[in-house]
Subunit: 482 residues, 2 copies
């Protein structure tokens, strides 16, 4: 078997999730557990946590799936128009035909308009690649860079903590991961000295090719400042690194003083030579207020790549035929939503704003919650969908974990799952500073942490204490607090 | 840039399609061409060629996309039931949530039932992997085998002519393609001596790991006999090869004396030790009578793989999160269609049978058509969706192609496209016996070859001759006939 596949790890869907699914099945089969329900805080999956899809999106999807409905007058006229436009762009008028491998042209044009409206800079639709989720195009772009130079393997700079798609893909391709640490004490910002240190060390054994920036951050929840982004761009320019901007959480900014700046906008505002740098930026329908993870709609904008590289990339993409056409149709609705005056506008705005409002409340709740527990500390969740609190592991817990041959945060996450049914991912899965311990939890079930989680806990009914007291006496918190 | 990506080729979406799309745009822009429309016979894309989707599938997709429609009494009750069943299997009751990486459990169970009903042998749903098109899981299985042994690269036996996904994927992964020639004179059957020759030669420079069998054949249209399949199984067993059965055309069998035998059924009927062999078999919603290429629904059954290999495979799959949930829902409808007595049954059967009937007529038309042209010879299209006629290239054409630095069949295909608007793929793209020349055309637009193609041709209106005469005097046929 491929040894790279043996090596790779993907913690977000790793052993903890496997155990969580087992526990769910045992509960369904009537087995007694110290909780009534498993709460999956391991994955940023909004619909799974009860968020409702936006009506406009789903009406258009129903219409393109079953065009008989175009005659149904209960659908708003703008959904009908949109569906007709999309169907006329599909070969044979059916979403069941293949699209071009880069995606349907009209949708790529709508994406380019969306980017242009967002940034104030032109976007060429020919640079837009649609894909089945952002992971798909991220992997394809990484793969494109996978060529040893002077007998050194290619390396890619990745923020630590990172989203494990990167470590998993680099392991799969046999490429070198060059980790640069984010500064936890500076709300997970970037320190330029750390970037230089990390690059210098890596140059001894690999050939650095690209730098990944995840903004807003996953798992760390920071929103990079404009200044930070400019520094990264200059650093990448000086070191001839391709910029890979993972911007799938661009709609998820909650903190009052934070703002999303796309890498595309900043390189253009900085002007030449920066505006001529190679940049791949990624966006998805799975996150934001859409949360349509299961539909696999996403795009990538590829800027300033050599035409020969683009032609080869296109060839490589084409062997997978095309991304799901329904995912592409969803993306069209996301980048070109109803505008004021159109029949679907009011409902669309209401639904969108409500979702973002709830996410904002949850983002605040969760880091305040963790900061309220002794032994935990958590940076402000400025954006994205996760909190990444640090745990000060007491000696006792460290020893117990060691005796079980597990990293201490993995041990803690298993204990938490077994005793409360809450599934989070240990920091180990995202990489972290040595001798620090973290958890990643999505913000999505944060009300459940207070309410449902507590109600499920066997200690809760008996003691009926305030949340704070409860936490101090709870079985799983004891591990931390004593 | 990754040199493997530079090397890989994917003819089905290669330069001919690029030129065909250019021509389409030029026609749209009002440019004069010797034809009025481009006919894309390059890709097995039924809906693009006018085939209509089955109503049952699309009703269920509309319902799961927009569950408000569940209240709409105009939908048949079995579509409502199916949609409710699928939604209740989605987390949060939404197709927008992620599924497990291997796919939704209930759908995997329905796939296992489908296989069991087809073959008469048990299928364990835990061996079923859902994927975004068969290409997705084919690539993943090939990748799994990508490990050098004793410093020799791993090799995979592929039928020649082959479907270019295989050559493209092996090139991408840096694995060795071991071609075994199908016998054109024996209706593209397998000759065991040729298998042995091919393996022996390959063993000098690579480590053969697996054998791919495409049945019914793409691009060759043959349906393997039971005896042929048994021979392959024995050969694979003796040589410790994993069996990879590409069976995406299993519903497309047209010839009176042909029958589809799944590899799974045959290894089980042969009993031990064959029934314990490692086998991966692939099936898709893109072909058959469904033709739902754009929706990316497919499955793979993995038999007798080591549990450790399965665990690692699962880990590798999980980094891509999940295949499109709507594609999974479609697959559910395909493997568990309405049965007699259910409200959708009659329409479903009528639509399905009509499509298969038309495909059968077209399959016959196309090879008779080619056999009617001097200089062409074509085997019976027993199954799948393609004809792969051989062209006896006259010396003049060979020389002209050589002067243009092109393989003769590529030169011919470009000439055909430029003068008639018909886009077919040259045999070179599929590999073929040296010094032979072929074209692959789908059977889908075969009526167009007679009717629309002729009407579009500038010679046709003027001459109004019978088809045979027309062909003899046509600009592009002249190249062959003179």
């Amino acid at each position: 078997m491929n040894k790279n596949i043996k090596t790779m790890e993907y913690a977000v869907r790793g052993p903890l999730l496997v155990r969580a699914i087992e526990l769910e099945k045992q509960l369904e089969a009537g087995e007694k557990k110290p909780f009534k329900k498993v709460i999956k805080a391991n994955l940023g999956d909004a619909h799974a946590m009860g968020q409702k899809p936006l009506t406009f999106y789903r009406q258009v999807l129903a219409l393109v799936s079953y065009p008989e409905l175009l005659k149904d007058s209960s659908f708003p006229s703008d959904t009908i128009c949109r569906a007709e436009e999309l169907l006329s762009a599909c070969k044979g008028g059916s979403v069941g035909s293949y699209s071009e491998s880069f995606g349907i042209e009209i949708i790529r044009k709508h994406v380019a308009e969306f980017i242009c409206n967002r940034d104030g800079f032109e976007s060429d639709w020919k640079n837009i690649l649609l894909s089945a989720g952002a992971s798909d195009s991220i992997k394809n772009v990484l793969k494109l860079l996978n060529q040893p130079i002077d007998n050194k393997p290619p390396g890619v700079m990745i923020p630590i903590p990172q989203y494990p798609l990167y470590s998993a893909s680099l392991a799969e391709f046999g490429m070198t991961l060059i980790g640069y640490y984010l500064q936890e004490s500076n709300n997970w910002g970037l320190d330029m000295n750390e970037l230089s240190r990390s690059l210098c060390e890596a140059q001894k054994h690999c050939h650095p090719r690209a730098i990944v920036v995840i903004n807003p951050g996953n798992p760390t929840g920071q929103v990079l400042t404009r200044c930070n982004i400019e520094d990264i761009i200059k650093f990448a320019y000086e070191n001839k690194l391709v910029l890979l901007a993972d911007e799938v959480y661009q709609s998820n900014v909650y903190a009052e003083n934070s703002e999303f700046h796309s890498m595309k906008k900043i390189i253009n505002e900085m002007g030449k030579p920066y505006s001529e740098m190679e940049l791949a930026s990624f966006m998805s329908c799975s996150k934001g207020y859409m949360g349509e993870c299961g539909l696999r709609g996403a795009y990538c904008e590829l800027l300033n790549f050599d035409p020969d590289v683009m032609a080869n990339f296109s060839k490589c993409i084409s062997s997978m035929l095309c991304p799901t056409v329904l995912g592409q149709c969803l993306l069209d609705c996301v980048v070109k939503p109803p505008v004021e005056g159109e029949p679907s506008y009011d409902l669309y705005s209401k639904e969108k704003n409500e979702i973002l409002e709830v996410l904002k409340i949850k983002s605040k709740m969760i880091y305040e919650f963790f900061n309220g527990i002794k032994g935990f500390s958590c940076n402000e969740v400025q954006g994205a969908m996760y909190a990444f609190p640090k745990i000060d592991m007491p000696e006792k817990a460290l020893q117990e974990a060691k005796s079980k041959n597990m990293p201490a945060d993995t041990f803690y996450a298993f204990q938490l799952l077994e005793s409360t049914g809450i599934c989070v991912i240990p920091g180990t899965g995202f990489k972290q500073m040595p001798d620090t311990y973290h958890l990643r939890t999505t913000i999505l079930p944060s009300t459940a942490f207070y309410q449902y989680g507590l109600r499920n806990c066997p200690n809760y009914d008996k003691k009926q204490k305030s949340n704070d007291n409860y936490l101090k006496t709870c079985k799983y918190c004891n591990l931390i607090l004593n």
